[in-house]
């Protein structure tokens, strides 16, 4: 059932608490909420645009995580990023997990909800990894149906993130950017463009990031992700870039971010940092850098007369959010 149908739109009633969500945060940078930073965030309230949580860390019934989140929600917009739904999985969608995600969304009433174009579960076993899928007409229909199901359950559109990859499938005829574009057309979902993942894929499996950016429907992009990665070099001189979210964003990724902002426009942008987590001020510093890079890219694009796409929601998305 595509989310854009009149039926799906009719599901969105003012009484649906899950649909009663705030507008997206401003097109500025936010940071991931880490348990160890919660008290300091609440005390010092640094000027970041939003806080992003991993949905799976808030699937407990109660306790300190929810207490901190409720307190921080008073001061910052919250966005929810799911890492466990396995939208690209070929075995049935984990409805219990979807229920748990719906509870997190209802409880935290996030400004944005996102998940991955990836699989992480097979026959009920969870791999704790986000693996790419082959891009074929069959997988396109499969993933679109699962996104429909999720949006119907959450009663709101979600953003879908491009994965990082170390392998490429032999049979994968549809370019990833076109696959994502088609998902937005079929389901009314948006795109979370992870600029670091795009860079990592370019290095590891030979995608061309600028062609990719040109193929992405700018109006569907609702958020960017930025992160550091690990460059692993092998004795024979080859290397892989490992998407470990454990360091600062590298200059090449900042450059690609500027290129993305010049083509697509500024959007809410998350600094992701999930391993070797640094002090809060390092995250805030990266967020300030992202704001400066986006502003510079927009100014440069305006000067060269490039037309910036504005984030106009598709009619389907407008219907979906009841705007």
């Amino acid at each position: 059932m595509p989310f854009r149908t009149a039926h799906a739109a009719a599901l969105v009633r003012p009484t649906d608490r899950a649909a009663d969500h705030p507008a997206p945060p401003p097109a500025l940078a936010g940071i991931g909420l880490k348990a160890r930073h919660a008290a300091l965030l609440l005390d010092s309230r640094p000027p970041v645009a939003f806080l992003e949580i991993h949905a799976e860390n808030y699937m407990g019934a109660g306790g300190p995580p929810h207490r901190w989140l409720a307190a921080l929600r008073e001061h910052y917009p919250v966005t929810v990023h799911g890492v466990g739904l396995s939208l690209g999985g070929a075995t049935p969608l984990d409805e219990d997990h979807l229920d748990a995600l719906a509870r997190v969304v209802e409880r935290s009433r996030p400004a944005l909800v996102s998940e991955h174009l990836a699989w992480s579960q097979s026959d009920g076993v969870h791999l704790n990894d986000l693996l790419p899928i082959p891009y074929t007409p069959a997988t396109l229909a499969h993933v679109a149906a699962r996104i429909d199901r999720v949006q119907e359950r959450l009663r709101r559109p979600i953003l879908i993130e491009n994965p990082s990859a170390y392998i490429r499938y032999a049979n994968s005829p549809i370019p990833e950017a076109e696959f994502l574009a088609e998902l937005t057309r079929r389901t009314g979902c948006g795109i979370l463009l992870d600029v670091n993942n795009l860079f990592v894929c370019a290095h590891n499996i030979g995608a061309d990031p600028l062609t990719y950016l040109d193929a992405i429907p700018a109006g569907a992009v609702g958020e960017y992700h930025l992160a550091g990665h690990h460059h692993r070099r092998f004795p024979d001189g080859t290397s892989l870039r490992i998407d470990d979210h454990g360091s600062r964003v590298i200059p090449e990724v900042w450059a690609l971010y500027r290129a993305a902002v010049a083509r697509i426009g500024a959007r809410p942008t998350l600094i992701e940092w999930d391993s070797d987590i640094p002090p809060l001020d390092v995250l805030c510093d990266e967020a300030a850098r992202a704001d400066a890079e986006a502003a510079a890219a927009e100014t440069a694009a305006a000067e060269t007369g490039a037309a910036l796409a504005t984030p106009t929601p598709t009619p389907e998305v407008r219907d979906a959010v009841g705007a």
């Binding site: 799976e56 995580p65 466990g84 075995t91 693996l131 170390y166 032999a170 590891n204």
Partner: protein, 258 residues
């Protein structure tokens, strides 16, 4: 989708067992650069080391007792036997204490499984639904003639734990900046109430009688029946003082008096 499903199943087996790499390669394209084995190993490491790390975060005292390197190997053995069935890793390792009981390399540490059970109880209490504890003076507001019919319910965070070793002392002495505490492994069994009356998880040592008493109340028995249970375990069980102590510890989340 059938070929995708088969590939994903093989990839899953490879991630947990490092076997069957050959069966994967046929579905993949050569993109030059590092060989396929190195590429696939990244996925295997993400799964096994990521999950071992999550397990260690859930069992920090067990990890500290055996050391990180040993823990990682043990965690991988556990994960191969019990791959996680949930995407949320908050409560990963429910089967870990039982696994440790039968895990030959830790036979010399007979208390390890009990420590793991305490850490499971801690994690459960930390993430359980919040509950408002009954006021310690609640009994004074009830009809004294009918107290025998009273049913006291636990907080959602409650776990009752009986162990052959002093696991609460072992736990405490393995926290950051813990003061020196003499631990005697032969000091006899312990009975613990693990719960979270507010935001902090608390261990409350219980007498044998109080443990039976709380077990009976948690099974929704009346105060009179729970008292009988306690006396059957411990003829010296003193209801008035034990109940006052449990109320002061804010052990209960509600009551029913028909």
């Amino acid at each position: 989708m059938r070929s995708v499903r088969e590939f994903q199943a093989r990839m899953r087996d490879f991630a947990f067992d490092a076997d069957g790499r050959g069966a994967l390669v046929g579905a993949l394209a050569d993109c030059g650069g590092p060989p396929m084995a190195d590429r696939l190993s990244i996925h295997r490491n993400t799964t096994m080391l990521g999950l071992a790390g999550a397990l260690g975060d859930g069992f920090p005292v067990v990890r500290r007792l055996v050391g990180e390197l040993f823990f990682d190997r043990m965690a991988q053995d556990f994960l191969r036997a019990h791959p996680p069935r949930r995407a949320s890793l908050l409560t990963i390792g429910a089967e870990f204490p039982a696994f440790l009981t039968g895990y030959a390399p830790v036979r010399e540490l007979p208390y390890l499984s009990d420590v793991a059970r305490l850490e499971c109880a801690w994690t459960h209490a930390y993430h359980a639904a919040d509950g408002e504890p009954l006021h310690p003076q609640i009994l004074a507001t009830l009809d004294p003639e009918r107290l025998g019919e009273l049913r006291l319910s636990p907080l959602p965070s409650q776990r009752l734990l009986a162990a052959a070793y002093p696991v609460d002392a072992i736990w405490r002495s393995n926290q950051e900046a813990a003061p020196d505490e003499e631990i005697r492994l032969d000091s006899g069994p312990v009975h613990l109430l693990v719960h979270r009356p507010e935001m902090a998880v608390v261990f409350h040592p219980l007498s044998r009688g109080a443990f039976s008493f709380l077990m009976a109340l948690a099974a929704q028995q009346t105060l009179a029946a729970a008292w009988d249970s306690a006396l059957a375990t411990d003829p010296d069980f003193d209801l008035a003082s034990e109940l006052a102590g449990l109320l002061t510890a804010r052990a209960f989340g509600g009551y029913r008096l028909p």
